[in-house]
Symmetry: C2
């Protein structure tokens, strides 16, 4: 029996990790595999929130658009992330792929049906929600109370920490998103985002071997800027 799950990068993710060894077959059986090309969407704001997703591979983002076009990015996603839970009947965010992306999709009701047999699954969903909430509160603080330099320092350290989980520890961070995406995450304009990269570079805190690769040259100073552990 060769389940896709058994070789999946996200096998130990918050969600799938709820099933030990062969148990994963239960989850596998009711999953639908999806592939989305770069620029495509897993789901759209305003669409009926029937499904939840676990990212298997690829990078993406979660965004919300206002009626006048202003955009706020809520999160950058990577393999292992569980997304799509919504307390409202329609999604309040869209999930876009930054690179080619694969994911598993479940009807939320199908997952809930497993809670009886697999209480660990429900516990995981609870923990995921709590963890995402904690991260979002960090973001609230950053958006409300920090300036452009501090915001970017925060994002770079945050991405480094997250990418360490999939690529291993490194001082180099990959930025699969555009400067515009970064700006919309930090609540600034593209120009300010671009200038801020320049500021941190001239200060020697980072190096930019390419637009989409940042070297954290001085983690201590970055951490101080971000008011955070290095």
């Amino acid at each position: 029996m060769a389940l896709i799950c058994e070789t999946c990068i996200a096998r130990a993710s918050d969600l799938c990790g709820a099933f030990a060894g062969g148990e994963i077959a239960v989850l596998d059986a009711i999953a639908v595999r999806l592939r989305v090309e770069a620029g495509g969407y897993l789901f759209h704001e305003e669409a009926s929130a029937d499904f939840v997703y676990n990212i298997s591979s690829g990078m993406g983002l979660l965004e919300r658009l206002a009626s006048d076009g202003r955009r706020q990015i809520m999160s950058f996603t990577q393999p292992g992330d569980f997304i799509g839970l919504s307390p409202t009947p329609v999604y309040r965010i869209s999930a876009q792929a930054l690179t080619e992306m694969t994911a598993c999709r479940w009807r939320i009701g199908d997952l809930e049906a497993l809670f009886g047999e697999h209480p660990e699954l429900e516990r995981r969903l609870r923990l995921i929600a709590n963890r995402v909430l904690a991260t979002t509160l960090d973001q609230v603080f950053v958006l409300g109370r920090r300036n452009a330099n501090e915001k970017l320092a925060y994002l770079l350290l945050y991405l480094a920490e997250r990418q360490a989980r999939i690529f291993g520890p490194s001082d180099e961070v990959w930025l699969p998103m555009t400067r515009g995406d970064i700006a919309d995450y930090l609540g600034v304009t593209v120009e300010t985002a671009s200038r801020t990269f320049g500021v941190l570079r001239r200060k020697g805190l980072i190096a930019l071997p390419a637009a989409d690769r940042v070297v954290l040259a001085d983690r201590a100073s970055l951490a101080e800027l971000a008011d955070r552990e290095p």
Copy 2:
């Protein structure tokens, strides 16, 4: 048997509502009642996150302080709110009382011990986390992408909607918090918060019979400013 729960304003709250009728005795038995005077704290940032709380009466706020003193308010709390869940071993926020406040406190482990007998309790905790997360994402958008006028319009409509649940629908909103608290919620300064009240008042969108009472005189325009349902 006269349980405190039976006459509690928060009897039907997200948490306590998980127990129908007499079942509530289970929750009542392991609850500790607390009273905190205005200005006091239910729990402090950095303290060990052993307890969770359900607000029985009174208004409060959840705040985070940076090492340099900058403050961000994450939420204003009211009766029925469930707070204190933390994915980290220490709280990342403090819970302060704005008025005299009463609350029930549980050791988080004691609640978890009930999950087997009362699966509805775990479901509620999951839903609460999801709902708080959704609200926090709204806040992220507001902090990242809206100007001072829009921010205040959003807060007033949000408070009106929440207070309607405990006081009933009304065009008058009570502001038990100071202008400084409002500023720290919206990510602006006290002066800007104060000026912004003035702007909305001169535009005729609100009236201010007292500093702590706002009349939503023109909900439609406020909703348009906030990009939100009236």
